[in-house]
């Protein structure tokens, strides 16, 4: 009888512990937000020679091989829009194609506040901006997001400062040639863009990040140093379709990640770019949830994550990547 009572007590204790564990487990899960995500095409660079974007896809006249028979591609400039509860986060911010910067060969640009409005968001409601890196076509329009706190890697800023102060003029130049700088260390960081970054710092709305950091529960910045620029960073986002990883130009091409080909070599160590690809595979379990910045197949069935797309302002496209439970579709 005593033995039986002891067994009942032991069972009750185990059951109690299991119930508590279950309760705490589900509480922890409830605290981890599930985010919604969209993709905005800020603009499109038209007719870019494929080989200048992906060396392994260089056009060979007369070739019938699929990897070398496409002379040029149109590259979208993608911005990630992420909603986690009441927080609205942007990953990259595109660039401002005003009359003072037409950027020959670019099309379909629309102002970021207007694009956000088309999705039903207000630019003033953006709480955080994570820039994958500080190149001009990824870190523009910051002054149009007055309340957003900017996240940028210290490593990115240090590398630009190093380049600016290098004695050899070709290395320290932002623009080494009227035809465009060719992968010099400070190439791509134009004055207006850096002034917008400085504007955020000046207003006390910038966080200089050292490596990995969590900006919201489950929403995590990962360093990807030298995967495109010295201080490139990725953003891991929990969603109902699994984790997404936004990669900016460390993930310039979805095909590149899928087929292990380097893309958009600027201040890039291609080994580090491959390690960034690997990080996405490890975090998401494959390549399908890696969000690329310039993939030509974006907004089509050939890049499945982005296929739920539509044409929005000025011919630019948008895609609804995933919705959190209870979040209504913003697709017109």
């Amino acid at each position: 009888m005593r033995k039986r009572a002891s067994r009942i007590r032991s069972f009750a204790l185990t059951a109690g512990i299991a119930a508590l564990a279950g309760l705490f487990g589900s509480t922890a899960q409830a605290q981890q937000p599930v985010c919604s995500a969209w993709l905005i095409e800020s603009s499109r660079f038209m007719n870019v020679p494929f080989g200048s974007f992906m060396p392994d896809r260089t056009f060979v006249p007369g070739s019938t091989k699929p990897e070398s028979n496409i002379p040029s591609v149109d590259l979208p400039v993608n911005i990630g829009v992420i909603k986690c509860g009441s927080e609205l986060i942007l990953y990259d911010t595109g660039w401002k194609q005003q009359d003072y910067l037409k950027m020959t060969g670019s099309d379909h640009w629309a102002p970021l506040p207007d694009q956000l409005k088309a999705l039903g968001f207000n630019a003033a409601d953006v709480t955080k901006v994570v820039i994958g890196h500080a190149h001009w076509d990824h870190a523009g329009q910051l002054s149009d997001l007055p309340n957003a706190v900017l996240y940028v890697q210290r490593e990115e800023l240090k590398a630009i400062e190093w380049a600016l102060n290098y004695p050899e003029p070709h290395i320290r130049a932002i623009n080494s040639d009227p035809g465009g700088c060719n992968r010099t260390p400070a190439c791509g960081y134009m004055p207006l863009t850096m002034e917008e970054v400085y504007g955020k710092v000046l207003k006390g709305k910038a966080v200089i990040v050292d490596g990995e950091t969590e900006i919201l529960p489950g929403v995590r910045i990962h360093p990807a140093f030298r995967a495109h620029t010295a201080g490139s960073q990725l953003l891991e986002v929990p969603t109902s379709i699994g984790k997404l990883v936004f990669g900016s130009d460390a993930f310039s091409s979805y095909e590149g990640i899928r087929d292990w080909m380097t893309a958009n070599v600027q201040q890039t160590d291609t080994v580090q770019q491959f390690l960034a690809y690997e990080k996405c595979y490890k975090i998401t379990g494959g390549y399908n949830n890696c969000v690329a910045a310039h993939e030509p197949l974006s907004y089509t069935d050939k890049y499945p994550l982005t296929k739920n797309s539509w044409v929005a302002l000025n011919g630019g496209r948008m895609a609804e990547l995933t919705l959190a439970p209870g979040e209504k579709s913003r697709k017109p």
């Binding site: 040029s72 003072y100 000046l202």
Partner: protein, 184 residues
């Protein structure tokens, strides 16, 4: 009758050959990656391309580039001096040491570009560039004053001048060096 049949036959053969030729040309012509038909809005044909520069204009663009290359670097260095001051050291003396050579550079650049001989078609562009150098110089001067009196409002003023100068320099760049910024 036989002549008519021959003529008809020759016509059919000709038409077939033309179709086959057109199809062959279509197949061998290089193509861009196909965009979804409904989403392709090709405005390139409608957009006026900037006219090519004349020899005189080209010479001016080349001469100005030597200043522009260093002006671009110096403008970014101006922002960076501010970033480092705000985010790292809060050392006013270090900030002054960084700004002083930049202030001198922009002052000298203003004088140098003003003295350049621009073709009449680019006189407005030249004035725009001179004004931009002047704005940068004023921004640098404001930052230097801040290092003396600590009035942080001066940094806000300097930032506004910087932004305006950079926009103006980009306007000049769109005329003289439209390819200076590539997709990144």
């Amino acid at each position: 009758m036989a002549g008519g049949r021959s003529l008809l036959l020759a016509g059919v053969v000709g038409a077939l050959a033309a179709t086959a030729g057109a199809a062959w040309l279509h197949e061998i012509r290089p193509r861009s990656v196909v965009q979804p038909a409904a989403q392709t809005v090709d405005a390139r044909a409608e957009k006026p391309q900037p006219p090519a520069l004349t020899a005189d204009e080209e010479r001016f663009a080349t001469t100005l580039w030597t200043v522009h290359r260093e002006a671009t670097r110096s403008a970014v260095a101006l922002s960076f001096a501010g970033i480092i001051y705000q985010a790292e050291d809060r050392d006013a003396r270090a900030l002054a040491r960084k700004i002083e050579p930049l202030a001198k550079f922009f002052h000298d650049a203003e004088t140098q570009v003003r003295a350049m001989s621009a073709p009449p078609s680019l006189s407005r562009t030249q004035v725009q560039y001179v004004d931009a150098m002047s704005l940068y110089a004023r921004a640098a001067a404001e930052m230097l004053k801040f290092t003396e009196d600590g009035d942080s409002q001066r940094l806000q003023v300097a930032h506004g001048l910087d932004m305006k100068a950079s926009e103006d320099v980009l306007r000049v760049g769109e005329v003289l060096w439209p390819g200076q910024y590539k997709p990144h």
